[in-house]
């Protein structure tokens, strides 16, 4: 019979380590004769995990099914392919969004960020070419780059600085306001709607003001606590 040197508890015969703190126990004679309190069933170990690669493979197989059906539906009536390209591209885009994180986990977030925006760009460029227009190069690409820049800024601020949740919310709101402004400027430049920004000023002013209010609240812990109690409990 052994005792844990750390917890002071008596351990049952055959314990290799203390179940409370994990401190190792050395008593080989007892380990051989000990009877476990429960059968050790290899079918249900506590940490059995489903492999990510299996889930990714299953999802991949599931994603192949709809495009295959679409290709057949598009091809059979007139022996040519048309609209099914859009379905194929959409599914490919969904695959790029879903499969890498499922397969590799959260380890490669910057890579997923780059990959996802590239995939959206590629998808829009394909749609543009497929429909015979020029809108992707005139406006969509710029809007996409603007969105990517704003997401990147928010992400870097969140990861690199110890910004509070309230200040981060303020940053996001202000970014949305500026995104609206940027969007209108880009659309005006491409399609000559107005010479000056009009509608985007409303969300910009409102969201920036809320952002400032949140920052001011965040500076006063007593006020923050009071508001939290008032609104959340």
């Amino acid at each position: 019979m052994s005792y844990c040197v750390k917890c002071g508890v008596k351990l049952s015969p055959g314990s290799k380590s203390c179940p409370l703190c994990g401190t190792a126990v050395i008593s080989p004679e007892e380990q051989e004769t000990a009877v476990p309190t429960f059968p050790r069933n290899p079918k249900s170990p506590p940490g059995q995990r489903i492999r990510r690669s299996t889930v990714a493979l299953l999802l991949e197989l599931l994603l192949i099914l709809p495009p295959a059906v679409c290709l057949i539906c598009d091809f059979v009536p007139d022996r040519s392919l048309g609209w099914s390209y859009i379905v194929l591209a959409s599914i490919l885009l969904a695959g790029v969004f879903i499969l890498p994180p499922v397969w590799k986990g959260k380890k490669f977030l910057p890579f997923y960020f780059f990959l996802d925006f590239s995939a959206v760009g590629g998808f829009l460029a394909f749609l543009c070419a497929f429909t015979g227009g020029n809108w992707f190069w005139e406006s969509s690409l710029q809007v996409l780059l603007l969105a990517a820049a704003e997401v990147y800024i928010a992400w870097v601020v969140r990861i690199k600085t110890k910004i509070s949740a309230l200040r981060f919310a303020a940053l996001i709101l202000t970014e949305i306001g500026f995104f609206c402004l940027g969007l209108e400027i880009l659309l005006n430049r491409a399609y000559h709607f107005h010479s000056m920004p009009v509608w985007s000023l409303y969300p910009l002013v409102a969201l920036s003001a809320i952002g400032v209010i949140l920052t001011v609240i965040d500076r006063d812990p007593a006020l923050k606590e009071k508001l939290a109690r008032k609104f959340f409990t």
Binding site: G8, L20, T37, P45
Partner: protein, 432 residues
């Protein structure tokens, strides 16, 4: 309903929440077990179960869906199964539709696992003692009298044993309120399977009783205070500022049979939630002991239980609830359970107290155990009983980190109580 001929039973008032609250990965299951002096014979156990099934018709049932409520339907006695690597495995919908009771054996141990809607801990213990008495009669020819919670299997089941004592004892005209603050939540990394870790702390009853007597409290109050101090210590380590601290409360089931002289073998417990609010200042162990003692003293009154029973029964009898189809009722009850069911306490502490058995059984029985399964959200639970001078404190958890055990048992050692530990959790089974 009460006669065996009808072969179906309405769920009792306390049981109604369990089928509604169960989910894909969780159902409320608990276990009582007995360890004998010799290896179990499955054949004899099978015969004993068949005999017990006639005497305990409310235990051998399956869960069925009605239009408005769930109900139980009697089923033939199941065969005993070999025990698993962990206790209180969840009962799936398919399993519940076959039988809501499992009888397991492993070496010298017989365990009974039950869906909580069938009965409570005390009812289950009466069943286990009667089953074991019959097993000993068949296996060794032992002559065991029907006393100390062992029922005579030759008798017909009494109507009082099958009654819903909540409905019978609805009294008074005041309904208890349900408002309370949310309690501190013990976090952890959940096991990927429904594995349940069980850590048993065994300690001498006389020393625990003496320590409790020194503080002028009962053993339950003493253990509750130890648990609260252990949880409070975890909160102190994991939550930064005192203003973010939450109350540390335990859910303690109270057996109402003593208060209402009921003989029912179905659920007849209500809960009290003693605890401390560390936000208002630090508590010493003695202060915690006093706080729990006075809170429990104030709540353990027949009048208080009258109000609680009335509130529960009134909800069941509400016309709108009665005519609501079961699937809507389930949805509403699950919502209520998620909002208030487990959030008002950190964990459940259930103490069955000292287990009494007839003198003739004692030479065959080495040990009793009581284990609570995991809850849907709360990751830890604690069940206690004592037998033959030893107190068995079974702490279960559905997370990898032994947070509570690591605080509780060393605290008991620090108080001068020698604790022996055993566990079903093997670190080497975790993936590296």
């Amino acid at each position: 309903m009460a006669e065996a001929k009808k072969r179906w039973l309405k769920l009792d008032n306390a049981a109604k929440i369990y089928p509604a609250a169960k989910r894909r990965r969780w159902s409320s299951v608990f276990r009582v077990s007995v360890t004998l002096s010799e290896e179990i014979s499955p054949l004899t156990l099978k015969k004993a179960i068949r005999r017990a099934a006639k005497r305990f018709p409310s235990f051998f049932v399956r869960l069925r869906r009605g239009m408005f409520w769930y109900y139980f339907e009697e089923v033939p006695a199941p065969a005993p199964e070999k025990d698993d690597a962990f206790p209180c495995r969840r009962m799936t919908r398919a399993e519940l539709s076959r039988c809501a009771i499992r009888i397991l054996y492993y070496r010298d141990r017989i365990a009974v696992e039950l869906f909580h809607a069938v009965t409570d801990g005390n009812g289950a213990m009466i069943f286990l003692k009667s089953l074991v008495a019959e097993y000993l009669r068949l296996q060794y020819g032992a002559e065991i009298p029907s006393e100390a919670g062992v029922l005579n299997l030759n008798d017909e089941p009494k109507p009082e044993e099958l009654e819903d004592s909540f409905l019978k004892n609805e009294d008074g005209c005041v309904s208890a309120g349900r408002g309370a603050d949310n309690a501190f939540y013990l976090r952890g990394t959940r096991f990927r399977t429904d594995f349940l870790s069980l850590t048993t702390g065994m300690m001498p009853v006389d020393i625990v009783t003496e320590k409790a007597k020194q503080g002028n409290v009962s053993v339950t109050v003493y253990l509750a205070a130890c648990l609260i101090c252990a949880i409070e210590h975890i909160q102190k380590k994991t939550v930064g500022k005192r203003k973010h601290y939450k109350p540390v409360k335990l859910l303690i089931p109270v057996d109402l049979r003593k208060f209402y002289e009921s003989e029912t073998l179905r659920n007849f417990v209500l809960y009290i939630t003693p605890g401390i609010d560390p936000k208002s200042g630090e508590y010493t162990f003695e202060e915690t002991l006093k706080a729990v003692h006075h809170q429990m003293g104030g709540e353990l009154t027949r009048q208080n239980f009258n109000a609680k029973i009335r509130a529960n029964v009134r909800s069941e009898k509400a016309f709108i609830l009665k005519i609501m189809p079961l699937f809507i009722k389930n949805w509403a009850m699950r919502l209520v359970y998620n909002l208030v069911g487990e959030k008002k306490s950190c964990l459940t502490l259930s103490n069955l107290g000292p287990i009494q058995i007839p003198e003739e059984m004692k030479k065959y029985v080495r040990r009793f155990d009581f284990v609570l399964g995991a809850q849907a959200k709360n990751n830890f639970n604690c069940a206690v009983l004592s037998y033959q001078g030893k107190l068995y404190c079974n702490v279960t958890r559905s997370v990898k980190e032994p947070l509570l055990e690591r605080e509780l048992f060393p605290l008991l050692v620090e108080k001068g109580i020698p604790v022996e530990i055993e566990s079903n959790f093997y670190q080497e089974d975790l993936p590296h």
